[in-house]
Amino acid sequence: MRSLEIIWVLFLKDLRLEWRRRETLASICVFGILVVFLLDFAFQPAGEESLRLLPGVLWIAFAFAGILGFNHSFAAERENACLEGLRLAPIDAGLIYLAKLLANFLFLAVAEAVIIFASSLWYNFSFLPAFKWFVVIVAFGTLGYVAVGVMFGAVASNTRMREVMLPVLQFPVIVPIFIGAIEATTSALKGDAPGQFASWVRLLIAFSVIFIVLSFLLFEYVLEE
């Protein structure tokens, strides 16, 4: 299908850009690790406390890493009028959104893997027992987050104060996703049966679908000049 080809081409473009300079990936990984590090220092959790704090720490680190990533994703397009080029292409604007969504999801996923590895070391916590469900929860939480982040990243990149605008716009909207993600993560890491956190995962999936559909429909208006 032509649409899938277009998404793939745009996705590869973002990957290629990133591969050449590797700024985004490096900075979001480092920033994420720094957040985990600072919070470790701030709380100095001992043993059991790790389990109580870790889901919140992880998702805060993911949140801040994501913001850096979304800002950079659209800042890059502003150079050399790349955004105008995309706009002029005879393609559905929603496809540009989906391609950006995939690219940012991949970058954030890599950063999250690094963050999870670092926190596993520093908090002396093993994610392996609940790994399968943990990955599912992080995947859907990230998907919802990136869906909103890419959309509002595009909106914020139009304004003067884009770095400040993005968190102000997106955090209210993603509160349900983050609450769901943190609750589900806490439950899964505690070793609860999947039935206990299934409703939270359903919430994550529902929000991801709603926001992806809405953003897909509205993206052409954000790109408009």
């Binding site: 959309m151 209210p172 909207v173 349900p176 929000f207 509205l218």
Partner: protein, 221 residues
């Protein structure tokens, strides 16, 4: 507009009388509960306000109608006031009754999110000089933000919350005695009347702004 102003004033005075004198004391909460009439009225008004932001935004994105954008903007400004009132009256009631000012249950969290969404809408608007860009991008925020409103409204029905269960259209065993219900509906009506008065003032302002813009352009040619 004067008629509307007088109607609003009279309605508010009637509501004030009913809240403090007509409505009986509560058996458990005494007189502290009376703030509920202001709180619930503000709540319904704030949610209706965001609904109007949503409707105006959708119509603007679809038809590019300047009037739709004016409605969205004016509703956001007035709605922000009522949402702030909601978030102030709530804790004022909560401290004597629950012993805490605030908790992060579903209803309170999502209502705070609603307040942030009003702020986000108004902030995005303020960052653009070009009115068409301001209108379009804030409309996008208005549409995506509306996802929060129905969930916020249903929060006390879907989850077990610190916030009290619904008394209007709640389940069985819910409800108010007739005098309280009447007071609540009169108060809500008064607040809605005030909201629509503020909305109409906002619309007049927007139209005046547009006229000035046109005149400026005429004279600069």
């Amino acid at each position: 507009m004067t008629a509307h102003a007088i109607l609003t004033l009279v309605w508010l005075l009637v509501a004030l009388y009913m809240i403090f004198i007509y409505a009986p004391s509560d058996v458990n909460q005494g007189n502290v509960y009376r703030i509920m009439y202001v709180h619930v009225s503000s709540g319904w008004t704030a949610m209706i306000a965001y609904f109007l932001v949503f409707v105006g935004s959708v119509r603007y994105v679809w038809k590019r109608s300047p009037f739709a954008d004016d409605v969205a903007c004016a509703s956001a400004e007035a709605g922000f006031i009522f949402c702030s009132c909601l978030l102030i009256t709530g804790p004022l009631w909560a401290k004597p009754i629950w012993g805490i000012w605030w908790t992060w249950d579903a209803r309170l969290t999502l209502t705070f999110v609603l307040w942030l969404l009003f702020v986000a809408y108004l902030l995005v608007r303020s960052f653009f000089i070009n009115p068409n860009r301001a209108a379009l991008l804030s409309a996008v925020v208005g549409i995506i933000g509306f996802v929060d409103v129905p969930i916020d409204y249903m929060a006390i029905r879907w989850w077990r919350t610190q916030h009290p269960q619904p008394v209007i259209m709640g389940g069985p065993n819910s409800g108010l005695p007739p005098s309280m219900e009447a007071t609540l509906f009169v108060s809500a009506g008064a607040f809605l009347c005030l909201f629509f008065y503020l909305l109409r003032q906002g619309l007049r302002l927007a139209e005046a702004r547009r006229e000035i813009g046109q005149l400026r352009r005429q004279f600069s040619e």
